[in-house]
């Protein structure tokens, strides 16, 4: 039982991170029907930028870890968002009316470029960061096994909840969110009604990149090691999460992320750590067999 709860906590933490990345996939897919393959790389850039920003802030601004993290969080969000915007502007916007596979190939190319760019500019070796948040609270104790909820895990979950709340508010209550939903439903009609769709799509990429940046910061703190290759697997898993939850649906992305995190944690806890990725994809296939549009996805209407 204690072991189960510990895995539940670990899985939820991991799931929160996946969920944040998945939102970027699902929003972009919802609005321009394209798999943004470079999104995993944006998250990787977020991890690097956060590490660099944190080191800059602590060297310049004294020893306060909390202050350094706050600076790192804000500057990472801004700079990574800029990267997300630049990728969209360079590689996707010119292909808005191109055949369907063109943006996909462009995105894969962009992902290769960003990966190798980080490898060349920051080196191929794994970058370690000593743990900043130490300690936590012991929730339970029994059978010689104690269940720990570390402060970092609490911060990750709290931050995720706050971001989700802000995000839901933006999408459902603001004029930007209304324009986004309009563009998602019918881009041409939205443009005719005076929505600047190019700007809305840019905003979507910026929002997705911002969330990915936060996920990158969290991963840097949580695992303490990053390298130029982390974007690939996290990207695939987050995209799987988006599909699992029903691509195009925001709550679906978060739900999918949590599920993937839980599956991974429980599978590596109870079965084998090597085959956790196999388990993730097998469950994806199973879910899609019975619900071809994902858990919370709306069925697509086929029109003739």
């Amino acid at each position: 039982m204690e072991y189960f709860i510990q895995q539940l906590i670990n899985g939820l933490t991991l799931g929160a991170i996946y969920g944040l990345i998945a939102i970027g996939y699902t929003m972009v897919y919802g609005i321009i029907r394209m798999i943004n393959f470079a999104h995993g790389e944006i998250y990787m850039l977020g991890a690097f930028i956060s590490l660099i920003a944190f080191l800059v802030a602590t060297t310049l601004g004294g020893a306060s870890v909390a202050f350094g993290l706050l600076i790192a969080l804000v500057s990472t969000m801004i700079l990574t968002a800029l990267w997300g915007w630049a990728v969209e502007r360079l590689a996707y916007r010119p292909l808005r009316n191109a055949p369907k596979l063109a943006p996909l190939i462009s995105a894969i190319g962009m992902s290769i470029v960003l990966q190798n760019f980080s490898q060349l500019s920051q080196g191929a070796r794994v970058k370690p960061l000593p743990p900043l948040f130490k300690g936590g609270i012991e929730l339970m104790h029994g059978n010689g096994f104690s269940v720990n909820l570390s402060y970092l895990q609490m911060v990750i979950m709290a931050l995720t909840v706050v971001l989700m709340a802000v995000f839901t508010w933006v999408i459902t209550r603001t004029s930007l969110g209304r324009a986004q939903r309009a563009t998602e439903q019918d881009m041409k009609m939205a443009a005719l009604l005076g929505v600047n769709t190019d700007r809305i799509i840019s905003a979507t990429f910026i929002m997705g990149a911002t969330l990915a940046a936060v996920a990158g910061l969290m991963v840097t703190l949580y695992y303490g090691v990053i390298d130029f290759y982390i974007g690939f697997l996290a990207g695939i898993k987050a995209f799987t999460a988006a599909v699992l939850g029903g691509i195009g649906s925001l709550p679906g992305a978060m739900l999918g992320g949590l599920l993937i995190g839980l599956i991974e944690a429980f599978w590596s806890g109870y079965f084998s750590i090597e085959y956790k990725d196999v388990a993730v994809f097998a469950i994806l296939v199973l879910v899609l067999l019975f619900r071809p549009t994902g858990l919370l996805g709306r069925p697509e209407v086929e029109k003739i």
Partner: protein, 419 residues
């Protein structure tokens, strides 16, 4: 230079420079240095300045060009459409050139080796073209079938002592079997859902190859894979028991080049077979059904075609050719490991198909030459190779969004003169 708007161009340049500086500041301006005590930073702000300068000047020049040149950049003329016969001649010409290539004076061992590598990708591209170009199913895990083919041959040869020529068809059958196995559950899915499931399948195969130590030898891979023979003639300096070497039989001096050229011809013939198969099957009912399904699934269903079997057959056929290519890859390398079958390979093959212009056979050859052949030449620039590769993918797509040879002639044409 009347229409040149200098202020706008300058503004473009300055904005570009500022954005580039902001982008470059964290990633280029600082470098994480990992010393023994702790992670520290070193700075190199001059790089940021150079990046900003380059982008700013580039934007400025682009803006000027846009004002001076009327309209867009000139596009490649559509030769395919203008000279329908030319396509045929070009095809034959390329095949003929490929056959004489090893005997040309320019052909040294390295060149034939590189050509072999390109041909593997041409064959894979043609195989994937059946799935993506003809049947319109987006497959992001094609490398899985390539891996199945490679491991089939490697295991059959090392554990059961089967020869290359016996294993080759078996490898194709295994790969096709995997194609059907994957196809059954997922072919109900549409478009992008299919893409992610195939991607996941590719990863599953790789993870299994990596972790099933007893069977696949895990990350260490399988070595000492036997080389193919020509009707029992082996390509070694000294013949093993009861075998004759190729050099002895034909009274030649032994040369390592013989085997390289022999391997080149095997893959050339295999690739051309794939091409011939594709060209022929497009005229058969099943091939027409693939193309019809790509264009309109609902119309197909209402005409009584069964989408599941049609998609399955396309999947299995593509997988079979990947399996052939895989076993050739195994015998050429003599060593395989899961490292060779990562997602990036799937991406490269898909890029070859899409960059070539979907469904265009010659386009696949051009794209393979461009994406695989060129980087092979620049191996010296090892670390910048993949950067340039990714950049080329983006630039070609921006330049020709529907591929290099996008023109696609209809398979059947209404005979208007007859009417």
């Amino acid at each position: 230079m009347a229409g040149v708007n200098m202020t706008a161009a300058l503004r473009d340049g300055v904005i570009g420079a500022v954005v580039a500086a902001a982008l470059a500041l964290p990633m280029l301006g600082f470098r994480l240095v990992d010393s023994s005590q702790a992670l520290t930073l070193s700075t190199r702000f001059d790089w940021v300045a150079w990046a900003a300068l380059a982008v700013g000047l580039g934007r400025f020049a682009l803006a000027l060009l846009r004002d001076t040149l009327p309209g867009r950049l000139p596009a490649l003329p559509d030769w395919g459409a203008r000279f329908p016969k030319m396509r045929l001649y070009v095809g034959w010409g390329m095949a003929g050139f490929a056959f004489v290539l090893p005997f040309l004076p320019i052909a040294d061992r390295a060149l034939v080796d590189k050509a072999t590598m390109v041909l593997i990708y041409v064959m894979l591209g043609w195989g994937l073209n059946i799935v993506v170009g003809l049947a319109g199913l987006l497959d992001l895990g094609f490398v899985a079938f390539y891996a199945v083919g490679a491991y089939s041959y490697a295991l059959l040869a090392t554990k059961l002592d089967l020869s290359f020529w016996v294993s080759l068809p078996l490898a194709g059958v295994f790969a096709a079997g995997f194609g059907i196995m994957l196809g059954f559950p997922v072919l109900r899915l549409r478009g992008d859902y299919l893409a992610i499931v195939t991607l996941g399948f590719g990863e599953i195969i790789r993870v299994i190859l990596q972790n099933w130590q007893d069977f696949t030898n895990g990350p260490a891979g399988i070595g000492a894979i036997p080389r193919p023979s020509l009707f029992g003639l082996v390509f070694t300096a000294n013949a093993p028991e009861g075998k004759t070497t190729f050099a002895d039989y034909f009274g030649l001096d032994f040369s390592g080049n013989h085997r390289v050229i022999f391997l080149y011809f095997i893959i050339l013939v295999l690739a051309l077979l794939t091409n011939l198969f594709t060209l022929r099957i497009r005229r058969l009912p099943i091939g027409r059904a693939w193309e019809a399904l790509r264009e309109d699934e609902i119309a197909c269903r209402s005409l009584g075609l069964n989408p599941t079997t049609i998609k399955l057959s396309a999947f299995a056929t593509g997988a079979m050719f990947a399996g052939f290519a895989g076993s050739f890859f195994a015998t050429r390398q003599g060593f395989i490991s899961p490292e060779s079958f990562t997602f990036i390979e799937s991406a490269v093959i898909l890029a070859i198909v899409v960059l070539g212009g979907m469904g265009s056979q010659i386009g696949v050859v051009l794209a393979a030459l461009l994406l695989v052949g060129l980087p092979e030449w620049f191996r010296e620039l090892q670390q910048y190779r993949m950067l340039a590769f990714g950049g080329a993918m983006v630039l070609i797509m921006l330049w020709k969004p529907s591929g290099l040879l996008a023109h696609r002639s209809p398979t059947i044409r209404l005979n208007q003169e007859a009417g």
